[in-house]
C-alpha cells in the first residue's frame, strides 16, 4: 500500500466534507429573503426559551462548585478572597459559554436532527421540493439564526445565575459579606471578558444548529437512520464546541 495514498484519501475526504458543510452553512445562513420572521420566532422559542431552565440550573451548580473549589484551593496560598473575581471571570469567559453550549447541544442538536431526519425518511423533504420550496431555506435557515441569536442570551443568563451560585455559597458557607462579594465580582470583570463569552455563545449556537440540520438532512433510512443521525449530531456538536472554544480562547486571550 502506498503510504501517500493512505494519508491522501482521508485527507481528501476530510477536505471535501469541510467544504460541503461550509457550503451548507452558507446556504442556510443566506436564505433570509423573504425574511422568515415567524419561523425564526418559533425556533427562538424552541431553542432559546425552552433551554433556559437547563442552562440556568447548569450555571447555578457550576458557579456554586467553582466557588467551593477556588476557596479551598486559594486557602493554600492565603488568597481565598479572590473567590468572587475568579468565579465571575471563569463563568463569563469559559464555563458559561462552554457548559451552556454543551447543554444546548444535548437538548437542541438532537431535537433538530430527529425532527429533520424524520422528515427526510418520511419523504417530507422530498415533498417540500416538489412543492417548489427549498428545504434548506424552509428548515435550516430559521434554526441556524435562532440558535445564533439565542445562545448569547442564554450565556448571559447563565453567567448571571452562575455568579449568583457562587455568591450563594460564598455568603452562606464561606463567610463572605454579601456586599463585598458582589462588589468584588464586578471590580475585576472587564467588558471584553463578557463580550468574548457572548461571541463564543453565538459561534456555539451555529455549531449546534448546523450539526443538527446537517445530520438530519443526511439521515439514513428508517428509524435506525434517524437514531444514528441524532447521535452523530450531538457528538459532532459537543466536540465542535470544545474545539471551537479552544480556538476562540487562543484567538481572544493570547
Amino acid at each position: 500500500m502506498n503510504p501517500l495514498r493512505a494519508i491522501g484519501r482521508p485527507a481528501l475526504r476530510l477536505t471535501r466534507g469541510i467544504g460541503a458543510v461550509t457550503l451548507f452553512a452558507a446556504r442556510g445562513l443566506g436564505g433570509l429573503t423573504p425574511f422568515p420572521a415567524r419561523a425564526i420566532l418559533a425556533q427562538l422559542l424552541q431553542i432559546g426559551w425552552l433551554s433556559l431552565p437547563v442552562v440556568g440550573l447548569t450555571a447555578l451548580f457550576t458557579g456554586a462548585a467553582l466557588a467551593l473549589q477556588i476557596h479551598s484551593g486559594g486557602e493554600r496560598f492565603q488568597a481565598s478572597d479572590v473567590v468572587p473575581a475568579i468565579v465571575a471571570i471563569g463563568m463569563v469567559r469559559e464555563l458559561g459559554p462552554v457548559l451552556g453550549g454543551l447543554m444546548v447541544a444535548a437538548r437542541v442538536a438532537s431535537a433538530i436532527a430527529a425532527e429533520i431526519g424524520t422528515m427526510r425518511v418520511t419523504e417530507q423533504i422530498d415533498a417540500l421540493v416538489t412543492l417548489s420550496t427549498d428545504p434548506v431555506r424552509w428548515l435550516v435557515t430559521p434554526r441556524l439564526w435562532a440558535a445564533i441569536l439565542s445562545l448569547p442570551v442564554l450565556v448571559a443568563v447563565g453567567d448571571i445565575i452562575g455568579i449568583m451560585g457562587g455568591w450563594l455559597v460564598g455568603t452562606t458557607s464561606l463567610g463572605f459579606n454579601s456586599a463585598t462579594y458582589i462588589a468584588n465580582s464586578w471590580a475585576y470583570l472587564e467588558g471584553w471578558d463578557v463580550l468574548s463569552g457572548l461571541i463564543k455563545g453565538a459561534v456555539f449556537g451555529l455549531i449546534v444548529a448546523l450539526s443538527g440540520c446537517w445530520f438530519g438532512m443526511r439521515s439514513g433510512r428508517g428509524a435506525a437512520g434517524v437514531g444514528r443521525a441524532t447521535t452523530s449530531a450531538v457528538v459532532a456538536a459537543a466536540v465542535g464546541i470544545l474545539a471551537a472554544n479552544f480556538a476562540l480562547t487562543g484567538l481572544f486571550f493570547r
Partner: protein, 229 residues
C-alpha cells in the same frame, strides 16, 4: 410529453433501474405496475429529480426536463403521503396555494379539494398525526391536486384504503384526467385501479419495462398474466 430513456440507478451493488425507457403523452393516463421493491418509486423520484439517476435522460417535449420549472406545474402523491407534521391538514393541502394567495382563499380551495377526496371540513384543522393511514393518503392526494397541476404522479393512491374508497379515488383520478386534460402517471398494485384509470399500462420488472401496452388489450398480454391472477 414526458419521456425517459435508458434510465439507470444503482444503490451500492444492486441495480434497481437497469435501462428503463418510458413515454407518456399529453393528457394520457399511464399506470406502472410491478412487484414490491422493483424500483417503481425510485423511477418516479428520478423523473422528479429527487434522486439523481446514474445514467439516462428525462425529456419533456423533447427537451431535457428542467425539474425546478417543471415542479410548478405538477403534483405528486408520495407513497407514504408525506404530509408535513408541523402543519394542519388544510395548511398541507394549501401549501403551494398560500405562496401566492391569502390564507382565506387558499383555505377555501383546500376545503373543496378535501371534499373531493372524501374528507369533510372537520378534518381540515387536524394535525397529520391525528389521521388514520387512509385519511393521510387522501389528504396527500388532495395536496397533489390542489393547484390543478398539468402533470400528476400518484404513488399507490389506493393502497391502504377500503375497496369502496379505493374505487372512488380511482374515479376521482380518472375524472381529473378527463376534465382537466392532465397527464397522469400512477403506480399501483391494484389491477382494478389500472382498469379504471389507465389508458396504458407498463410493467416494471428486473429494472426494465418488460411490457407496455393499452389497458384495453391487457387481458391478452402474457407478461401481465400473473398480475391478473
Amino acid at each position: 410529453m414526458i419521456e425517459v430513456r435508458r434510465l439507470r440507478k444503482s444503490f451500492g451493488q444492486a441495480a434497481v433501474l437497469d435501462g428503463v425507457g418510458l413515454r407518456v403523452g399529453q393528457g394520457e393516463s399511464l399506470c406502472v405496475i410491478g412487484q414490491s421493491g422493483t424500483g417503481k418509486s425510485v423511477l418516479l423520484k428520478c423523473i422528479l429529480g429527487l434522486i439523481q439517476p446514474d445514467e439516462g435522460v428525462i425529456l419533456s417535449q423533447g427537451q431535457p426536463l428542467d425539474q425546478a420549472h417543471f415542479m410548478q406545474r405538477f403534483g405528486m402523491l408520495f407513497q407514504g403521503a408525506a404530509l408535513f407534521d408541523s402543519l394542519s391538514v388544510w395548511q398541507n393541502v394549501a401549501f403551494r396555494l398560500r405562496q401566492r394567495m391569502s390564507d382565506r382563499a387558499a383555505r377555501a380551495i383546500a376545503l373543496e379539494k378535501l371534499a373531493r377526496v372524501g374528507l369533510g371540513p372537520e378534518t381540515a384543522d387536524l394535525m397529520p398525526a391525528q389521521l388514520s393511514g387512509g385519511m393521510a393518503k387522501r389528504a396527500g392526494l388532495a395536496r397533489a391536486i390542489a393547484d390543478d397541476p398539468a402533470v400528476i404522479f400518484f404513488d399507490e393512491p389506493t393502497t391502504g384504503l377500503d375497496p369502496i374508497r379505493a374505487r372512488s379515488i380511482d374515479s376521482l383520478i380518472r375524472g381529473i384526467v378527463t376534465e382537466t386534460g392532465a397527464t397522469a402517471v400512477t403506480i399501483t398494485h391494484d389491477m382494478a385501479s389500472v382498469r379504471a384509470i389507465g389508458d396504458r399500462v407498463a410493467l416494471l420488472q428486473g429494472g426494465r419495462i418488460v411490457h407496455d401496452g393499452p389497458v384495453a388489450a391487457m387481458d391478452q398480454a402474457p407478461a401481465l398474466a400473473k398480475f391478473l391472477g
